[in-house]
């Protein structure tokens, strides 16, 4: 099979069926653009939510000597989920309280009634149930008076993140499905526009694989063009339009901090859909085309 011929025919298809090709590229572009926006927004929402989820448990202690404090610290640090433990003495607690509550409560704070405590940081991947059981284990350590953490916020974040992930994935799958159907049908249109060419090729004894190859090259090129346009649009939207027209949103970062992950995924997906759509559509249509019409 002549590669030169296949590439020449594949690119010539753009001139021969302009409307069908434009429709095909446009539908691919819309699909990949939507997926790109969804990907970038989802990543940012997710990382924001994860940073909120950083859990801190406050462990208030009874009055005790330094050795006992160290024993409690050792036991807490021995827990698998615990990533960091900071001790706040009675004096430090008073200073912090004075700072937070203001001058009006100075006399009250001078009574030095606030207990010493530990601020315990927990692995952010821990679910609420694990945190709950950790809290109850800490509560049972000798010398611990009370254990506090924001149960409600953790549970709300947890359930909202699951819902968000579900909606995000569902939306992504829906867009992908719609895109695949759209791409398949528009590429079928492109192929249908060339039914005379297919009949003539069959007439002179071209194999189905040979007939298919220019369409597949065309599908890949369509995917490449649509993917590039979608990437440029995502860039324009998040680097120029959002900062100018919706500045409150702030910076919507590239996923994983690098532009090329999303760009690569978008162009790759677009090319894949172009290839797949043209392969499927041409396979079916060519098999169903008869020389005699």
């Amino acid at each position: 099979m002549s590669l030169k011929y296949v590439i020449k025919e594949g690119t010539a298809g753009f001139k021969r069926a302009k409307l069908a090709v434009t429709t095909s590229i446009f539908s691919l572009f819309i699909a990949v653009l939507l997926l790109g926006i969804l990907g970038r927004v989802s990543y940012n929402v997710y990382t924001q939510a994860m940073s909120l989820k950083e859990i801190q448990i406050e462990v208030f202690l009874f009055d005790m000597d330094e050795r006992s404090v160290e024993e409690v610290r050792n036991q807490i640090e021995g827990e698998e989920l615990v990533t960091n433990v900071v001790y706040i003495s009675k004096d430090s607690a008073s200073v912090i309280a004075a700072k937070e509550l203001g001058a009006g409560v100075t006399e009250l704070i001078e009574l030095n009634f606030l207990p010493a405590s530990f601020k315990v940081e927990v692995n952010t991947d821990s679910g609420s149930e694990l945190v709950e059981s950790l809290a109850s284990r800490i509560q049972n350590i000798r010398g611990v008076d009370e254990v506090e953490y924001n149960r409600a916020l953790l549970k709300a974040l947890e359930s909202n993140l699951s819902i968000f992930s579900l909606i995000g994935s569902g939306l992504g799958i829906l867009i992908l499905l719609a895109a695949v159907v759209l791409v398949y049908n528009t590429i079928r249109l492109t192929i249908y526009a060339k039914k005379d060419l297919i009949r003539a090729m069959k007439l002179v004894g071209a194999t189905n694989g040979f007939i298919r190859s220019p369409f597949i090259v065309e599908g890949i090129i369509q995917g490449l063009i649509a993917g590039t346009l979608a990437v440029l649009s995502v860039f324009a939207i998040f680097e120029f339009l959002v900062p100018i027209y919706i500045p409150d949103v702030g910076i919507v970062a590239w996923p994983f901090g690098r532009w090329y992950f999303l760009v690569g995924a978008m162009v790759g997906l677009s090319v894949l859909m172009g290839w797949w759509g043209s392969r499927l559509a041409s396979r079916k249509y060519i098999a169903e085309t008869y020389i005699s019409g």
Binding site: M1, S2, Y5, R16, D196, L197, R199, A200, M201, K202, L203, V204, G205, A206, T207, N208, F210, I211, Y290, I291, S292
Partner: protein, 233 residues
Amino acid sequence: MSETSVIELRNVSLSFENRRVLNNIDFKLHNGEFTYLIGATGIGKSSFLKLLYRDIVPDTGTVRVTDYPVNKISMKEVPMLRRRLGIVFQDFQLLQDRNVFDNVAFALQVTGEKPKFVKQRVLEVLTMVGLSHRRKHMPKDLSGGEQQRVVIARALANEPRILLADEPTGNLDPGASKSIMDLLKQINNRGMAVLMVTHDYALVKKYPFRTVRMIEGSLQELQWKGDKLVPVK
């Protein structure tokens, strides 16, 4: 298959839309033979040709074209069969977006021939059909007769052993029809078997060759007796 026949049908039956088109027929086309297939419109002459280039398969019987048992080969072998055949239709089936040279070259490019050979062979067949001077013209700039010549050139490009022509003069005026018939005769004189479907009795009379009539699902050999075609006894 007998050694001299390039097409052989045995006990072939074909139904189409609940109508029996062919009823247990036998047929042979010999090497280098010119045969007309005539019959009323819609009787099934084109279906007969479709059986040969495997656009359809018979209900029963066997169809052989050169070495190919047409109704038994896999779909992958069908393109190889078609390369042994030159096929010409009434509607020219030229690609309107490419010139005469490219329309003919296309037949060789799809079979993977090298560009140098393609160029040489295309000029050869265009010269044969008398159109080498029109090679850069687009199909729309050609007359009907010229377009049909391009189609014949394309059909000949792969040096087939058999030319199947389905009403090749059907859309042409008498002058153009004559030039196409002269060309087909010339091709036949070079040793290629030609099976031509037509209902133009004037042409059949003017260029007398073996004539077979399709009638009520059967094939009937005919011969000229005076001005009339009559069944061979």
